[in-house]
Point group: C2
Chain length 398, copies 2
Amino acid sequence: MSGLIVQKYGGTSVAQPERIQRVADRIADRYGRGHSLVVVVSAMGHTTDELIELAHQVSKRPPQREMDMLLTAGERISMALLSMALSDRGIPAVSFTGSQSGIITDGTHRRARIRRILGDRVREALSKKQVAIVAGFQGVSETKEITTLGRGGSDTTAVALAAALKADACEIYTDVDGVFSADPRVVSGAKQWRRLPHDLMVELATRGAGVLHPRSVELAKQFNVPLWVINSLRQADGTEIVMRGMEEFAVTGVTSDSAKACLEVQLTRATALSALWDLATRHQLAVVAPQFVSGRVSCFVERDCEGEWRSHLQKLVTDGFVSSYEFRSDWVPVSVVGDRFSQDGSALQSVIEALASAGVEATTGNASSLAITLAVPRSRADEAVQALHRIFIEGSEA
Amino acid sequence: MSGLIVQKYGGTSVAQPERIQRVADRIADRYGRGHSLVVVVSAMGHTTDELIELAHQVSKRPPQREMDMLLTAGERISMALLSMALSDRGIPAVSFTGSQSGIITDGTHRRARIRRILGDRVREALSKKQVAIVAGFQGVSETKEITTLGRGGSDTTAVALAAALKADACEIYTDVDGVFSADPRVVSGAKQWRRLPHDLMVELATRGAGVLHPRSVELAKQFNVPLWVINSLRQADGTEIVMRGMEEFAVTGVTSDSAKACLEVQLTRATALSALWDLATRHQLAVVAPQFVSGRVSCFVERDCEGEWRSHLQKLVTDGFVSSYEFRSDWVPVSVVGDRFSQDGSALQSVIEALASAGVEATTGNASSLAITLAVPRSRADEAVQALHRIFIEGSEA
């Protein structure tokens, strides 16, 4: 087999020169077996965080446009280094920025969405048998402004490129073996999935399974891109994300997400809901597991977008849509993802009971056909995951 | 006065966030006085050196194209940070890469030459009363490849932009007060020039006065750009580089250049000289104070281009143009620059005698109407500069 593979290596995989060498070895091996390769890279290790820290040292409110200019330096460094390491191994390689790859986005800085991918220079490199190294996380708007894709940006770049180039597979390299039924650092009995359907993976990712970003999985599902999660640090089987087939998957995983916080908003009238949704959509602010009961909205949002949410919500207060809001950053979502949940609330009930028997208080809860999500105190999240894994996954195996 | 000023801040001036704040204060002050401003920045402090070091950790021979991709990350960081610091002061600012500024170069990576400057986005920013921050040192080729301009690149960017935008002045900010008759760290009696003609500044710069790069001064001379050298770290008068006027300048400065080494090449025949010159031109390798006596060429070249020179010269040996060559890295050029030298060799003679009386051996020597350059042992360069300054400058004042 000698198809076209898009690989993506995250920040940990390229954190130091030695790791870049290891990635280069892996690519060289694959190239030697006759594959056409497009390699998407993130910035090295903590580069992005360090750049953000620098920005805050020179400005209290760095303009988003300049943040994008700053942050895109990160992938520029890692992609050039990887290209050099390949060339040192006699593998012809050429690196491209998001702009050079023709990754055209809308103009929303820090959270841009990909509109289309031109990819001419990438295709040209492939036709010359070169490995194309592409900067993850970045693009360029129609007005030639540099943009970044926000969270999960590099995964999204990889999947979007795989879709545009009609690649045979998209491989996401990371520092874990694959997708597990829970975080193995929290649940010792967590089991790895060999194959998992896209829609369950979307639910897991949305609810805190950090291994893949939900955006990229949704994109893979939409364009039918065969997606793999593979450990870049050691040989392991990995997990294949597949179109849903005949198999039953039952409860697939238990997750928690410490990057989220609970947001509660009291609307002045039910019709004010659209003003709130409009706000989230317009500013591309993620909203997870929203629920709406008699004018009160509860959901989970990115904890570090608190400032942004507050300023937008304050405006909705001024405009008369919202009467009050509360940002409860000590509450995080814990979820059970699977595809055997009925929607009558009985599954939600058994999750609440399982938590109660473990002594974990759960307040707001939300159930869909594929996932049940509850808010638990941040300090009890690990215990909650362990209790739910024991009952829903280990119990189901017994 | 409210003209258009192009300012350039080097790596030392933006080495840390606090220094970037200081530069922002200076720009804000100038903007407040009604000037239109274009600000060219280098990478922060030692960023470029650190990136080069990283490259050598992943590759024995990093491809030049990828080095350019890597190194251009440096200015991207400093320009975004400066733009943020300005915006924090309420000054509208917008940063542009070399490519966005339309700095079109030839395709020679690491040592590209500017072909022309489009500057549309810079002009547009100025028309909106924004401060345009431009990445120094970088450009883009006609085939959309990222290039860097090599040594003195940021100075060259600033002067070229000043020429293209017909700026009223180009101010080069650095960590010294201006141009001196010798390096004040070596010669305590060195005196600062308030005004200096372009052609003498070219000679000083070519011969090791690190304050300005000769390329940028030549460009300023060619396009009649009024050029200033100003201390960015404290208030001081600076030096203005002017068109030659009625004034006499006599001996202007004494320099040495430890970044250079002496190269001696024995040609097989006199006509082989053109093959050697062609090599230097084609690879844009700087050659200072060349001389040619009965088939033997002697000159000064960049010490860290030794490897490159050796591989090119070896080819000339193979092709029968060169019989032998010697790279004498323990010999450096020491020069006296001025405009009262006759070309009959008597000035050269007095320089050699001055050195001999100071006990410094000088071998190869070269005299033009504006400068006399001799090779002295690297370890004796400071003594040579002190002796020549005493005789030619302090003596001439007595």
